[in-house]
Amino acid sequence: MTPLILAGATAAGAIASLAVLSAKGAGLLLWPLAVATLGAAWLLMTRLSNDRQADARFGWSVPAIFGLSLLFAWEVVTRGFDIPRVLLPAPSLIGAALLAQAAILFADFQQTVLKSVIAGYLLGNGSAFIIALLVDRSPFLQRGLLPLGNLVSAIPIVGIAPIMVMWFGFDWPSKAAVIVVMTFFPMLISTLAGLQATDRMQRDLMTSYGASYGQTLLALRLPAAAPMIFNALKLNSTLALIGAIVAEFFGTPIVGMGFRISTEVARMNVDVVWATIAVASVIGSAFYGTITLIERRMTFWHPSFRKARG
């Protein structure tokens, strides 16, 4: 059984099952077909995972097949058991909503991601980075500001979102402010920890070169801190998107992903809600992935990336 035959069998089974679903009436035929399809997909993934050569060339294939199998099972179960649309729509319905509402979803993406998330993310991380450098230089800030930072990090987002709406109005600035509050602390702590990451020997070497504080920072301490800083940037990329969406559950203009989710749920348009969730997860992953790629380029010297370069 070569993977190729298995792949063919899986595809044929999937097509046949969906055809039976659309035909309705051949209910008895559906379940064996669906189970056989999923079984073929399972075998195919096992083969691909055990095959070293295939793994090198088609590393993406197993997760892709796995994802497609999940979608297939979801489709068959929701339509086969006739689950009400308002509880769980089939993936095909969600896909249809994605296409039909593309213009609205794009407007939401612009409002939430391009305005709130990017502004809040840059402001939150940027200010935390600068404050971290200041704290690093002055002991009194370290003793005074850090406990306050701890306090701020514990503020519940649903508590500050309405207050930010009062301060900064309904539009994106209030959402960006919520993101700043959410992302500030992880970045501050990670940057500070990163700046502590060099050991005495390395710093002594810089001193014996006669390097100034700024030169030591640029040549030694910041590069050493980079892995920690990137960790915070990655964590904050997901926090920022979540923060923006939750903040939009409060006063908002009538556009944005959070607004869409809260409104369409109440209107029982659950397919649109799922479509928005799909968009949000793709954007979140892309955001995270982008930061990871930048990290690889900038911290290529780090042991965890050496193997990847071969």
């Binding site: 309405p162 709406v165 109005g169 006063g251 209107r267 029982m268």
Partner: protein
């Protein structure tokens, strides 16, 4: 050993005795937080009207992002207080909601505007920012804007804000007008420091776009099930008794509501005022409190379907109300 047997037998007997007189459980989901808008139900519970009817009613408070229609669709309640537009829109999406009693005969909804925003009549709305509640409460507003022919996406039409739990947008001039109820938010604006003379009010009733508000809804399958229907009839009867008592003893009813407000957010002054306004909306129907007037239902459907661009409902609902339960409750 013997004493153990005797005592366990006694425990069993006691269990059976209490089991026999157990009350029928029923869960009611409110449309909003605990306040005089729902005084009738709290009165019926506290004065023991439900108990007399053999019911054990759990009252679940709502909130800004809770849509009762959704709660009942998800199985979180047996009966809900909801507005007709939201109930009919949900019905069109495949949830079989049926009106079994209509408590409020009149709509209490209005748009409250600041005079200094330059709004003098609905013709001034374009270009202005208006606050609207969502979560199923946006339908009357959308139907009204549709009737006026204004788009709700900004630009040449009106700019809509999703209004939160409070009336800040009008106090802070973030919006020219906000949605208010005669019995609640309007007074919050007044308490917020604006005077009656600073404000202009557009009642939905006067604009010819009023839709029926607080009514009791349940699922069609409950109405068809004789045991459940009997239980609901008892519930409606006891609830309406509570409403009549609340309307007659407005201040005492406000006190009962305050006793039930776990959040402690409500004030006595505000609740007494609210109860007075609510009593006006219940009116005195010759057929009894809670009677759904079919003509008012038809008017609501006409408003919701009258939309040119985006009607709230697309086809005439069938079987969306019944007098069956109400007549049984007589």
């Amino acid at each position: 050993m013997k004493s153990l047997l005797v005592s366990s037998a006694l425990v069993l007997a006691a269990g059976i005795a209490t089991g026999a007189s157990a009350q029928d459980k029923l869960t009611l989901q409110l449309k909003w937080v605990t306040q005089a808008q729902f005084a009738g139900y709290y009165v019926a519970k506290d004065k023991g009207f439900y108990k007399e009817a053999g019911l054990d009613v759990t009252i679940k408070a709502g909130g800004p992002d809770i849509n009762p229609s959704q709660v009942i669709a998800g199985g979180g309640a047996d009966v809900i207080v909801d507005w007709m537009p939201s109930a009919l829109a949900t019905r069109e999406k495949g949830v079989d909601l049926v009106n079994i009693a209509q408590v409020f005969q009149k709509s209490g909804m209005m748009l409250t505007c600041r005079k200094d925003s330059g709004v003098t009549a609905p013709k001034d709305f374009p270009g202005k920012t208006l606050g609207v509640w969502f979560g199923g409460n946006e339908y009357p507003f959308l139907a009204w804007m549709d009737k006026l022919g204004y788009a709700t996406t900004g630009g040449s039409g009106v700019t809509v804000l999703k209004q939160g739990f409070n009336v800040d947008p009008i106090l802070q001039k973030q919006a020219a007008c906000i949605s208010t109820m005669t019995y609640n938010e309007y007074w919050q604006v007044i308490d917020g420091g604006l005077k009656d003379s600073d404000l202009l009010v557009f009642k939905y009733e006067d604009q010819g776009v009023a839709t029926l508000e607080d009514g009791l809804y349940t699922l069609g399958k409950h109405v068809k099930d004789p045991a459940m229907a009997a239980k609901l009839a008892k519930f409606v009867k006891a609830s309406m008794k509570g409403w009549d008592w609340a309307a007659a003893n407005s201040d005492a009813a406000a006190g009962i509501v305050l006793d039930n407000d776990a959040s402690g957010a409500q004030t006595e002054k505000h609740q007494k005022r609210m109860m007075g306004e609510i009593a006006k909306l219940i009116g005195s129907n010759p057929k009894g409190t809670g009677y759904l007037d079919p003509a008012a239902y038809d008017r609501t459907v006409a408003v919701l379907m009258g939309g040119k661009s985006a009607p709230v409902i697309t086809k005439k609902p069938e079987g969306a109300w019944t007098h069956e339960i109400f007549d049984k409750a007589k």
